[in-house]
Symmetry: C2
Subunit: 314 residues, 2 copies
């Protein structure tokens, strides 16, 4: 069973209460804990050896990745991260120096974003290392940017570059916290999500959350990473770079929708504020629920499943 | 390297900020997120197949245990649990019915304590199931009960019965939330901890956090569970029941210290409020940092490490 099918089956079971502003189904949960100025964000996420990092990966970079994934989710709500707790599940007798290095990387990234680490549980996972980070953040009341607010005609933007993250960037990416908070303070962002499963997949999540809208994406506007292009040229197993940009995952960039009348303001302001981070207008939201990829060679549907369906039909 | 040694090495690395009221080292972290009436509690905890439950355990009870462990930590701060997020790490192709049953158990316990489940991540752990629960709660400002406030002469109490939890109770225990909140509202509780590693170990945590105090425990007052006694009588591998009560772990009872002048009020009030839950006064806090076990047969030190050192020398 696919992860998303399982989540869909489980979601109706989940109890709620009066503290919940937004439950499961967005980048973070949103809670009202009584602060008159803010809502509270809550997120949990894990990285697993052999899945999200290899055994020989630099532990400092693994620690960075473990917390930066949560930070990226807080960014996607335009939030401010505040504090995190860590569960470190280890094989018995695991090297203490490795654990310290992991914590050094994790704490350095936390400190850079003024996040406190307020608890560090350790437990046993006999076969491999697993690191879970749970984070609280905050956002001005009612100003969390959800996945669900995209409107027909909205311009779609994506930050940074996409594809080929597996070559190293997945251990080094910087969560787009400053960019997201600038966006939220500068323009009415209708919907936002962080690109963790690949643009094709996460765009679909945003469209589904926004009531089943569709999108037209211009292939020529997609910010394909240099790494993805190089991997296409040199790698034996590499996907075409366009496919990599759509489906590789672990980009941790921001995908967001604004009214078309705000598009130029977003591009100009971003260029001034973040001259070193690319921002691309990649297409627009449509009423037709299909997701269409418009290329020089013609128009074709962007498959629902991303990678699985697209692979082999470049 | 022992879990607690690793934590001690890592603790100085952890960044803090102005939101932190109490960081790592208590049952929950305490944060000030701006609610004028409350502080926020944050906790994370994991259960792992083969460590905290067996592969053939009833998944509903595993789900109960996964969240009840966090609830017990919120109870130990005299807090109110509010919301939780779940990380479910599964081998590929794991039975979806099993996952649903786990969530049913988890959600039923959450709902019974008015806790919302506001996110459910799934990820891959190839060899075994791991369930991490992260929880936020709240407590009236400045009223979180820490481990660190025990004073010389305080009376020590423990709820329920101890030992033999492995026979089944570890999957069924009810976190002492109502009891803890009643205590906090009725008397000045100086220090409290939940007994998860065994009374001998957790008492030592409370004493260390309180500035290196000691304790005298009366063996005859320890609430040894019927299960621990039966296991001693019938089991091949069982420990003596007294040793089991001191070191088995996973009791999830409350251990707390109050002024001796409050002791009778606590016992009387508890009996009225919670007639079905035993409460035992097991000893007192001393200035001498040793932890002493007083039995009919004489006095002996309670070893620091609990189980490891005590085993074989009943």
């Amino acid at each position: 069973m696919h992860e998303f099918d399982l989540i869909a089956r489980l979601k109706p079971l989940l109890p709620s209460n009066d503290f919940v502003v937004a439950g499961a189904g967005d980048d973070c949960a949103v809670l009202d804990l009584g602060d008159l100025g803010h809502h509270t964000l809550l997120k949990t996420d894990a990285v697993v050896e052999g899945i999200h990092f290899t055994r020989d990966a630099d532990p400092e970079r693994v620690g960075h990745k473990a917390i930066a994934r949560c930070l990226s989710d807080v960014a996607a709500m335009a939030g401010q991260p505040i504090a995190a707790v860590v569960t470190l599940a280890l094989p018995p007798g695991h090297d203490a120096g490795w654990c310290e290095a992991l914590y050094r990387g994790l704490c350095r990234t936390a400190a850079r974003h003024q996040v406190a680490i307020v608890g560090g549980e350790t437990t046993t996972n006999p076969d491999r290392v697993l690191v879970n980070v749970a984070m609280v953040g905050r956002v001005p009341r009612g100003r969390a940017i959800r996945r669900s607010g995209a409107r027909i005609g909205d311009a779609l933007f994506v930050s940074g570059e996409l594809g080929g993250s597996i070559a190293g960037r997945h251990l080094e990416f910087e969560p787009r916290l400053a960019e997201a908070r600038w966006l939220a303070s500068s323009v009415d962002v209708h919907a936002m999500i962080d690109v963790s499963d690949g643009l094709a997949g996460d765009l679909r999540h945003l469209l589904a959350a926004s009531g089943g809208l569709g999108a037209e994406i211009r292939a020529v506007s997609l910010p394909i990473s240099r790494t993805a292009r190089e991997r296409e040229r040199t790698g034996d197993l590499a996907k075409p770079a366009l496919l990599a940009a759509l489906t590789d995952g672990e980009d941790f960039e921001l995908l967001f929708a604004v009214a078309p009348s705000d598009a130029v303001r977003v591009l100009d302001g971003w260029k001034t504020m973040f001259p070193e981070v690319r921002l691309s207008c990649i297409g627009r939201i449509t009423a037709d629920p299909a997701v269409i990829l418009c290329a020089n060679t013609g128009i074709k549907p962007m498959p629902r499943g991303g990678y699985e369906h697209f692979h082999g039909t470049p």
